[in-house]
């Protein structure tokens, strides 16, 4: 049984008058991919943003490698080894691809060897190195967003819907890249609506609804149990394929 890298216990988040997270309990084991599933508005993105400190939990504890990070500011959380790929990609469109990558390497100059690995993983990063990031296509921007998160070794990467709005060929490339990233022992907490993609790379899964985790366990168990899929999400994997 792998060690727990990140744990959320009884986490509540309020945004203005809205009570979004209503007691989230989540364990992310070290190594592998944990997928967070759930319908729109279930609280998946809020969970990632709360972990990252972009919204502050009003109640509950978030622990990362045995340290409570609940009240830490976002830069401190990032510096502890958590990278974030937001749903809107968070690309600096006014900057070049190179400048985006330089900023992401917050601990010093870019490691050339790692950059070479990344450009093999995502060829457009190398091709458009000096181009303005604003001129990239949607898929290329998503690649840049993930590339930025892994330019330095991180213990945990939070990725919010990396396949949203992408063409099938790009989704397959992105899935393959995440699989390769998984081989490097990086832990990934992935929010994904595309169940087919999620099930192909996920090791563990948590399903959210109404601001709570309503199911957690092995991904393989959920893939094999269509009745449970239907119960949790209203749809089965077959519908997605």
């Amino acid at each position: 049984m792998p060690d727990t890298l990140l744990s959320l216990s009884g986490v509540h988040t309020h945004i203005g008058p809205y009570h979004i997270l209503q007691g989230v309990d989540l364990l992310v084991p070290e190594g592998g991919v944990t997928v967070l599933l759930g319908r729109n508005g279930a609280g998946k993105t809020t969970t990632l943003r709360t972990i990252m400190g972009l919204w502050t939990a009003s109640q509950g504890d978030i622990r990362f490698v045995d340290h409570v990070i609940t009240k830490l500011a976002t830069p401190e959380i990032s510096r502890r080894g958590i990278a974030f790929v937001p749903e809107d990609m968070g690309i600096f469109t006014d900057l070049t691809v190179a400048e985006n990558m330089m900023l992401a390497a917050s601990n010093g100059p870019i490691d050339e060897k790692r950059l070479s690995w990344i450009t093999d993983l995502f060829p457009p990063i190398g091709t458009f190195w000096k181009s303005s990031a604003g001129t990239l296509s949607g898929g290329q921007k998503q690649m840049l967003s993930v590339a930025r998160a892994i330019i330095e070794p991180r213990r945990l990467i939070l990725i919010d819907e990396p396949t949203k709005g992408l063409a099938p060929a790009i989704i397959k490339s992105m899935t393959d890249a995440l699989k390769e990233l998984k081989e490097t022992d990086t832990t990934i907490l992935l929010v994904e609506q595309n169940f087919a993609m999620a099930s192909s790379i996920g090791d563990t899964v948590a399903v959210m609804d109404d601001g709570r985790i309503i199911h957690s366990g092995d991904m393989q168990e959920l893939v094999e149990d269509t009745a449970l899929q239907e119960k949790l999400m209203g749809l089965t994997l077959e519908v997605h394929q």
Binding site: L54, P75, P86, L103, A104, P123, G134, S137
Partner: protein, 342 residues
């Protein structure tokens, strides 16, 4: 990597659109050309153009900090004018202490006196900027209405503090010997001080561009203007960066105050709030958060104000407002709209 081939495709910006994007750069020469055609006499035009550029450069110095502060943290600082006035008063006080140097025929001593006055003004306004950000601005991040009210309050307090320290009367001071008088080019007389103002403004613009384009701090500022949240998620403390920018912006306002004061040779406690009208117009014309837009906007305001004051003095009263209206009808987000992901 997958065997699925990705065909990288970069969106090409059409030539017509590229031209449209670059068009604002042409506005200053076009305005100068229009001024030449309207004025007719090249000597008068040259004098007015240098005067306009000098005025524009001084407004740019005062406005540049304000636009970056807005761009980076979405903070509307109506108290920015306080730093202009305090900078001018500190500068004038130092120049009064150094009267022996400013009245000396030695250009070097004159320059030293002005340099010390400028450094003192920038130091004081930079430190006041620190206090202003911590005490007044920090509690109202993200709340525009409160920012307007509280920074206006800060401006009033600062003006009253000027009354307390320097008294209610306006101060007069003569420019140092070396900056008095004019240089004659043919039939055109150009005030020396205006050339100095153009030089300092241009040097500041180039330095700001260099810092923004070629340094890590500049990179962070540009990224922060677009998406501050993501800059934080990458591990950078944007609040600290903002404090540095705020202090720098305040210090630049102080520099602008000294220069404007030397230009007018008279300063009052209200000079900051008076000049802020022009400063806000320039920031809006340029596009909130854009240094390049602010620079072009300031030069246009300076040139137009001088040309219209010569051609039709009554029109000069509304010329800058009219310019803002025309620019905003053409580009509602200003000359260089700043992309914001927030």
């Amino acid at each position: 990597m997958s065997d699925t081939s990705i065909k990288p495709r970069i969106e090409k910006v059409p030539l017509s659109e590229q031209f449209f994007q670059k068009l604002p750069v042409m506005l200053v020469p076009l305005l100068a050309l229009a001024g030449l055609l309207a004025i007719g006499n090249p000597a008068s035009w040259l004098t007015l153009t240098v005067a306009g550029l000098a005025m524009g450069m001084m407004i740019f110095i005062m406005a540049s900090g304000l636009t970056v502060v807005f761009g980076l943290m979405d903070v509307i600082n109506f108290g920015h004018g306080a730093f202009v006035a305090i900078g001018a008063f500190v500068g004038f006080t130092v120049l009064a202490w150094l009267a022996g140097w400013t009245e000396s025929p030695s250009v070097l001593l004159n320059l030293f006196a002005v340099l010390i006055a400028i450094l003192a003004a920038m130091l004081v306004t930079g430190l006041l900027g620190y206090a202003f950000e911590r005490v007044i601005v920090m509690p109202v991040y993200g709340e525009h209405l409160k920012q307007i009210l509280v920074t206006m309050g800060g401006l009033i307090v600062a003006q009253q503090m000027i009354y307390v320290v320097w008294g209610p009367d306006e101060l007069h001071i003569s420019r140092p010997e070396a900056f008095q008088g004019s240089l004659i080019f043919g039939e055109a007389a150009i005030e020396k001080y205006r050339l100095v103002a153009v030089g300092i403004g241009l040097a500041l613009f180039l330095a700001m561009r260099h810092i923004l384009q070629n340094t890590k701090v500049g990179l962070l500022v540009r990224a922060g203007v677009e998406n501050g949240e993501m800059v934080e998620a990458l591990g950078y403390r944007i609040r600290r960066l903002f404090l540095i920018v705020f202090m720098t912006g305040s210090a630049l306002a102080g520099l602008g105050g000294v220069m404007w004061g030397l230009y007018q040779e008279t300063i009052t406690a209200h000079m900051g709030s008076e000049i802020m009208v022009l400063v806000f117009i320039v920031v809006i014309i340029g596009g909130l958060g854009s240094v390049e837009g602010c620079f072009i906007g300031a030069l246009m305001v300076g040139l137009l104000a001088n040309y219209t004051a010569f051609l039709a003095p009554k029109v000069a009263l509304i010329s800058t407002i009219a310019l803002m209206v025309v620019i905003l009808m053409w580009r509602p987000q200003g000359l260089y709209p700043v992309v914001k992901a927030k």
